[in-house]
Assembly symmetry: C2
Homo-oligomer: 458 residues x 2
């Protein structure tokens, strides 16, 4: 992709000024995807179909009747969003089966705005893992270092954006699955508040934790795309009170809380990068701890496993041994949870939200690193940081699950490069429903950081 | 109690006109309670304390400064509402333990309005049963026939109101526990919409199904007391969007749906009484069935058992054998439910609400008998109706659970007397949050029925 058209914001501008046509952008995507085939970012991409969509967009634009400012912008879609043109496999040997031939609501919204749906991106099987090392199509490679994982479960989307194949890609996030690959691959990742974006047509992992989100090349891409995510969808009752997207105001003064303490440890390098960012912004960040955070992590895990085993109940009966090994053991573990244990987890969840909202001093955003470490290398079973040895899986969700358990909007922004040349991400979480305010805070911090993204093999 | 002061509405009128003082009413209560001691309706009642409260009310009224229209009105309270003056035992040998010495929100609201809290009424152990045959204080007797049960779990409140000891009494309702004794004892029973009335300080049976409610001598008593039930209470987060009580409008034309079909059978006598009522009102009632109602009943039962076992988790570990036999087996059964089963029940619950709200033709109220049979006799293990043999417990909740699973406001009104001289109740359920409309429909039907309550031994 030509460097001036790398971000969605740049693409929108180029299309508007007729410096590029949708067909130009489509060819850029196809060429770049072909160069980056080794990343294994896409599991389906039909060049002819991409060009056909782009030509239709071209025609609309030449007639002076684009459907929206993003008419002609190429968007990649994680393989757990239903799409009417591409198959949806959840990157598993046990496919969803019997799904209607229709677009997920978010995909339908983007398509109705003229976006060119490029293809489906690789993911961790059924989104049930945060490394993108297990997919029926093989692992996704980190564009910054081929020995490193992309993070998951939306790793294909992370790699596709980081490699400059597309400006933005859809992901889903149950415990960080948008933010983890965004951080590991050095791009932006946004998860809306629970219940503000329709989950209709997005294959569930854990329906009370899942949110559809997006990964992008710049902070400015997010407000261009978020209008197609937020708002009421009759087909997802949890959105019944969802406000549509409203304009992002500039905010200069905001209250941050820097979450620290037991259970929130991070590597020295990641910690220093975060401190440096916080030192450079004008707003003050209070530090705060959350008591007994391990019990809330267990609540998140209990709800996740139990809902996933419920969702896959029929598939387990028929095809258990066709799932990957890790997913099999997760699903079996989920079946062993008792109702009383689940209720305990659900009650802890309410308590956790109450702590964040009512017991901490007032905050506009909570600050954490997105990951406690940089992208792990393939084959590493554990990560070491803060005197802990943590499984690579748990190190990926280490901070991210907080936003899902509490239903908060959350964003990962790239803020630094490690000594090993890997990206380091900063996470901000907003108050429930205050997605726009979170974005404006993120934009302010992004600007003050002035981090220039180092795109792989540019 | 003097016959002109039997209902709360009459008491309010008498107090307003100075035809009676709060102390007069208090003595009426004490005298009548003493006459009716054999019913076993009260588990604690301190005559001196009742008179003391009444004297304070007297003083306020004589100074022309009553706290509200109900200042001085005697109210009885089910023994699972916390009260700062009376002990709260849940009528079990395993008491709640460690509860703060404070009033439940509803009790506090009534006390702040000047109501005289008479004492605590008998109930089925921990509200975990619909017959009022098991209480640490012994069973409650039906005022209409000493061989018959009062129904439960708020049986003491039902008997106290039916016998004319008090005009109104508090109850709680998880699967009909307000409406069942109301119907069995021939009084009115109202359960608000879930989440509109604070459960704070009401000992839980199943927190997602429980609602505090009231039993009363007349339909007009309910709008006099409901203002103290409805509205936001910070100590019960489920009320965070609760509207306060608003004035009940008169409604002449309303759409009723008469629920019938498999799983909703009733005895011939009860069925005929209901048909007679529906034949005498001007509004039309459509008939409708609910497919596969047994699965929704199972969902209600699963949620109930699981939440109850969760709530009593610690008590079970310490004191299991001190609970009554039935409660022990319920609690053990609840522990065996898996998380996946509970989630299935929770999903069926959403489906059930969707059927009622979106798939039936539009309705203002759903109509059912409150019970499929009249009050069973002590010792009867089963009831026979509509070619079924059903346990006495399940026959009590036969229709009532629908309102709890869907969170609907619901009312039982007495409409007829059986050939055996026992009351027959009609149940109306409104749309969620439309408590006032339900009341106005109930009032219209109550008027057209013109049923005169036959009070025991008047």
């Amino acid at each position: 992709m030509k460097s001036q058209n790398r971000t969605v914001a740049e693409q929108v501008e180029s299309l508007f000024r007729c410096n590029a046509t949708p067909v130009d952008l489509a060819h850029d995507v196809i060429d770049r995807a072909s160069e980056c085939i080794g990343l294994n970012a896409f599991v389906s991409l039909d060049p002819d179909h991409v060009v056909t969509q782009a030509k239709q967009s071209d025609l609309r634009r030449r007639r002076g009747r684009p459907l929206s400012p993003i008419d002609g912008v190429p968007i990649a879609v994680k393989d757990n969003f239903l799409t009417q043109d591409y198959p949806t496999t959840a990157c598993s040997n046990v496919g969803p089966g019997g799904q209607p031939n229709e677009d997920a609501t978010v995909v339908a919204n983007l398509r109705a705005a003229g976006a060119v749906i490029v293809g489906k991106t690789n993911m961790h099987e059924w989104a049930y893992g945060a490394t993108n090392t297990y997919s029926r199509f093989g692992a996704t490679i980190n564009p910054h270092n081929e020995d490193c994982i992309s993070g998951g479960s939306s790793g294909g989307s992370g790699a596709a954006v980081a490699a400059g194949i597309v400006g933005a890609a859809l992901g889903s996030d149950t415990g960080g699955s948008v933010r983890i690959p965004a951080s590991a691959c050095g791009v932006y990742g946004f998860k809306p508040s629970y219940g503000r974006a329709s989950r209709h047509g997005v294959l569930a992992l854990s329906w009370s934790l899942d949110a559809p989100g997006l990964l992008s090349s710049s902070i400015d891409d997010i407000p261009l795309l978020l209008p197609y995510f937020l708002g009421v969808d009759k087909r997802d009752p949890t959105t019944s009170n969802a406000k549509p997207f409203s304009r992002v105001q500039n905010i200069d003064d905001f209250k941050l809380i820097n979450l620290v303490g037991t259970g929130l440890e991070r590597s020295e390098e990641v910690g220093q990068a975060l401190e440096k960012v916080l030192g450079n912004i004008s707003s003050n960040a209070l530090s705060a701890t959350i008591p007994d955070i391990q019990s809330f992590f267990c609540a998140w895990e209990t709800i996740l496993h139990c809902e996933a085993s419920s969702f896959h109940d029929e598939r387990m009966k028929l095809y258990l041994d066709k799932f990957g090994e890790t997913m099999q053991s997760h699903l079996l573990a989920g079946q062993e949870i008792t109702g009383v244990e689940l209720l305990y987890a659900q009650r802890l969840r309410s308590k956790f939200l109450n702590i964040l909202i009512n017991q901490l001093p007032y905050w506009d955003a909570l600050v954490l690193p997105t990951l406690p470490v940089v992208a792990p290398r393939f084959g590493e079973q554990t990560q070491m940081f803060g005197d802990r040895v943590v499984s690579t899986q748990d190190s990926m969700t280490w901070f991210c699950w907080l936003g899902n358990l509490a239903g908060l909007p959350a964003i990962s922004i790239p803020v630094a490069t490690s000594s090993s040349g890997l990206p380091i991400g900063l996470m901000l979480m907003g108050r429930p429903g205050e997605d726009e305010k979170l974005l404006s805070i993120a934009k302010s911090i992004d600007k003050s950081v002035g981090y220039t993204q180092r795109v792989w093999n540019q």
